[in-house]
């Protein structure tokens, strides 16, 4: 991890040094640790962060529930609160009390994994939101995509599932148009927006932090005396945006889980 941090600091210094300020670009998010810079299969920094988060979540969940008691310890209480949020206010409220239970493990995994990975975006030694590389939200979305379609096909059958996409009570003339629209919604818009929302929020937020911090760094070290004063404002904005990022990170983990539950619920719904 330490060499990782050193390269990060090196890159920050590099982008802030020289005669002119270079604004951060999407290329700053490419961090191969092993396998070479041009290798698309390189083991990258977000891969390491993801592995770390999986280990951390597994350790935390086992440690906080191994000695589960009726009167919970602090750790068990936190785990129970998070589990309760996912189970009751996401899964049960959205999917319905009849068959929400078998989706709780999926939703809980999604929520904890995304939450921890998002929070890693601002936790100092790591400071890389995994989901700002589009491959990671894509993989998560692929799981959700397969799950809600399989659930729908199993429940309604092939023709029944396609039919269940159309809301009832429509005049016959508009049915084909509505079917095309709903088909696009189910197969294109939903996975695309689910994936891009998580990616876009994490990417944009991190890019903004990068901009304020590297700009403050540049103005402080290379600017005139007036610029040095302005850099205080830049750092203050970086601080404010970091606080805002915490909110966004929680919200995105919640939203991803909520939408997963919503999509599963709409595949399971009997009639529109």
């Amino acid at each position: 991890m330490s060499s990782d941090v050193l390269t990060a600091l090196g890159a920050l210094a590099a982008s802030g040094s020289g005669d002119s300020y270079e604004t951060p670009t999407p290329a700053e998010f490419w961090w191969p640790l092993w396998g070479g810079y041009d290798n698309p299969w390189a083991f990258t920094r977000p891969s390491l962060v993801l592995l770390l988060s999986v280990g951390l979540i597994a350790w935390w969940l086992v440690a906080s529930t191994r000695k589960a008691a009726v009167v919970p310890s602090k750790g068990q209480w936190i785990t129970e609160q998070v589990y309760g949020l996912v189970r009751n206010s996401i899964a049960k409220d959205v999917i319905g009390s009849h068959d929400f239970l078998k989706f709780v493990p999926l939703l809980f995994t999604m929520f904890t994994l995304i939450l921890v990975n998002n929070l890693f975006g601002i936790i100092p030694p790591i400071q890389y939101p995994t989901m700002s590389r589009i491959g990671f939200p894509m993989a998560l979305t692929l799981i959700v995509y397969v799950v809600y379609h399989v659930v729908g096909f199993r429940k309604h059958g092939f023709a029944g599932y396609l039919k269940s996409m159309i809301p009832g009570g429509l005049p016959k003339a508009v049915l084909p148009f509505i079917f095309v629209l709903e088909f696009i919604t189910y197969y294109v818009t939903r996975p695309l927006s689910l994936c891009l929302r998580l990616f876009g929020n994490m990417f944009a937020g991190h890019l903004l932090l990068l901009l304020f911090i590297t700009a403050g760094d540049y103005m402080l070290l290379h600017g005139s005396i007036g610029m040095k004063l302005v850099s205080v404002g830049s750092y203050a904005m970086a601080f404010v945006m970091t606080a805002f990022e915490i909110l966004v990170e929680f919200l995105q983990a919640y939203i991803f889980t909520l939408l997963t539950a919503t999509y599963i619920a709409s595949s399971l719904a009997d009639e529109h």
Partner: protein, 71 residues
């Protein structure tokens, strides 16, 4: 010398609609919660759901701004 990419303007345009939409959604949520405080929990998840659906367009704009590089 100001450099940049005209595709970013597309993001600015695509943020207008969601900005108005999200404003309307939360205005309705605040109205509802003020009139009926006990419905707050239920309204909150509906408001967030509406918010993310409206936000999707802005996110598309943001991503496409980086995808399409102007020459």
């Amino acid at each position: 010398m100001l450099g940049g990419n005209i595709a970013i303007l597309g993001y600015g345009l695509s943020a207008i609609g969601p900005g108005i939409g999200i404003g309307l959604i939360f205005a309705a949520y605040i109205n509802g919660a003020a009139r009926q405080p006990e419905a707050r929990g239920m309204l909150q998840s509906i408001a967030i759901l509406g918010f993310v659906l409206a936000e999707a367009l802005a996110i598309f704009g943001l991503v496409l701004a980086f995808v399409f590089k102007a020459a």
